[in-house]
Amino acid sequence: MIELQNIGKTYTRPTGETVRALDGVSLTIERGEFVAVVGASGSGKSTLMNLLGLLDRPTDGHLLFDDEDVADRTVNDLARLRNRKIGFVFQAFHLLPRTSALENVELPLIYSERESIRGRGEAALKAVNLGDRMNHTPAELSGGQQQRVAIARALVNDPDLLLADEPTGNLDAKAALEVMSIFHSLHESGRTIVLVTHDPALAKECGRVIRLEHGHVQSCIEEAS
């Protein structure tokens, strides 16, 4: 589904110094996989995540999404691809404040080309067991519930790929368990999931663990689960 060929990413800091965040990364993520990306902070996890989520472009190398090189795509093409094919789950939830759970979930639908968006938001919220919290604002929800709203938002356009960046980082153990169980059931129903985490225990639950170190893929281990 996604193929990275010798990807490199260089940032220029506002101070002028350049940072090589990723260097010579080659990896493939197959449809239906549940992959964990682990590494210390500064290892290039977030950069890899931004590239996989088509939020950023590589400085060198080729990134093929559904066998097409994203280098050929315009900013608007990438926006459409993100809208249709990718769902994002963030550590800090990124829900709109003072906005109901339902409206938060419906956010990607605003930018979709679908003719009718009726009912999709409700269905997505019911899928994460929040059918009774549709009109609650984020402030009225617990952390675990907020992250489930965010997952519903990620799923509302029925994407092929789910990218989760430390989704349990801000949650207590019980809520983290709930969120992980949702990911597992999504994986079982055939969805591709990439999970960035620094928690080795969570990484072990995934089918494959990609370990990053100083911008390089240090190891790529198939878990026997």
């Binding site: 939020l55 926006a79 906005t99 605003i110």
Partner: protein, 395 residues
């Protein structure tokens, strides 16, 4: 992506950030209110002015007023007053003249039985019905025979009729003007109050010959209104009349609608320049406030913008969102301003009896101006928001 969905987003954002929206609305609210007030009142005042002017001078006529100028101080004043003969002589030489009417008046008491009141008695010819555009609502106007024969017939205004007759029918009744008995043959159609605040329904119109012979005992007239075929010719006609009357050594002054309209246009131009200027300044300040608040809102909502980009918003969607949000807010303020301005105009109109003040052009102007202010105020914030990179915004 559908624009209608973005408009809904803008309305939600407006209700989510109430205080900010209220401040953004304030500028367009006050500016548009001032603008609406001026435009509505200006139009109503113009309509009223022109109508009154038409009643006094007429659309295409020349008004000759006896006396005036330094002549009033001259010892031979009386001998220099204009007469019906003078005007007759003048209009005979001018083919553009369609018809004309002399006028003489005095204020005196009118009685009927025990009831008595002070009225303005106006002497006119049978042509006045056409020349002054005021006819009778009941009964009939006097004819040429009545004028030639100095008949003692009278047309009574509604205020005067009410004072003398109460609820009785004045037609065919007898009244005394001064000590002379007159028969009422018609009731003048209502006029209301003129520009000077005079009740034009507290009048009685009689044939001018009767007035001169039986009431005032003079042979001069106060004024004459000369109706001409082509309004554009009024200056030329005025020049001709001036020539004839000067040759007869009369004291007079001449007014044309053209002149009056020029003066009024000048007054209106000043009014229409300065008040909209003030409104424009308010709108400018309001626009600047809106732009600043919206810019602050953009930096406050960086993570919202990043998120929208992540879930599929294109830069132009973000730009459109903030542009719509600013415009919708100022437009709402503007619509409020139109309502306030209209209410104010109604108040002023009632106070000064201006009649209908609702004007579609004021509404259109208000909507257009507040939309334009919003669009301009939104350009910078929208540009800044659209330029944000999603990865920077999501950090």
């Amino acid at each position: 992506m559908k624009t209608s969905r973005l408009i809904a987003v803008a309305f939600r954002a407006m209700s989510r950030y109430k205080l900010r929206s209220a401040f953004m609305m304030l500028g367009s609210f006050l500016g548009i209110a001032a603008l609406t007030l001026v435009v509505s009142i200006g139009q109503a005042a113009q309509v009223k002015m022109l109508r009154t002017m038409r009643q006094i001078i007429g659309d295409s006529s020349v008004l000759v007023i006896g006396g005036g100028g330094l002549g009033n101080a001259s010892p031979r004043t009386d001998a220099n007053r204009i007469t019906i003969d003078d005007i007759d002589a003048a209009v005979k030489e001018i083919p553009e003249v369609e018809t004309w009417d002399p006028r003489q008046d005095l204020v005196t008491s009118a009685r009927r039985g025990d009831a008595s009141t002070t009225v303005r008695v106006i002497g006119q010819s049978e042509r006045s019905e056409k020349v002054w555009g005021r006819t009778v609502s009941r009964g009939e106007y006097f004819d040429a025979a009545a004028v030639n024969g100095s008949s003692r017939v009278a047309l009574i205004g509604e205020t005067a009729a009410r004072k003398l007759f109460g609820n009785d029918d004045p037609i065919d009744a007898e009244i005394r003007i001064g000590s002379v008995p007159f028969r009422v043959i018609g009731v003048l159609e209502p006029f209301g109050v003129d520009l000077h605040g005079m009740d034009r329904d507290n009048e009685i119109v009689v044939p001018i010959t009767t007035l001169m012979r039986r009431l005032t005992n003079v042979d001069s007239i106060a004024a004459a209104r000369i109706v001409i075929r082509d309004a554009e010719q009024s200056d030329n006609v005025a020049r001709e009349i001036r020539r004839v009357l000067r040759a007869r050594q009369r004291n007079f002054s001449i007014a044309t609608t053209l002149q009056a309209r020029r003066i009024f246009t000048k007054i209106r131009r000043i009014l229409m320049l300065y008040v909209p200027l003030a409104a424009a300044i308010i709108l400018l300040i309001g626009g600047a406030v809106s732009a600043t608040l919206m810019l602050a809102s953009v930096s406050e909502r960086v993570s919202e913008i990043g998120l929208r980009r992540a879930v599929g918003a294109r830069p132009q969607d973000i730009r459109l969102q903030f542009l719509i949000e600013t415009t919708v807010t100022t437009l709402c303020g503007g619509i409020g301003g139109i309502i306030l301005g209209y209410a104010g105009a109604r108040l002023v109109a009632t106070r000064f009896q201006l009649g209908g003040v609702f004007s579609w052009s004021a509404v259109l102007l208000g909507v257009a101006a507040s939309t334009i202010v919003g669009l301009i105020a939104g350009i910078m914030p929208a540009k800044r928001a659209a330029e944000l990179q999603p990865i920077d915004a999501l950090r």
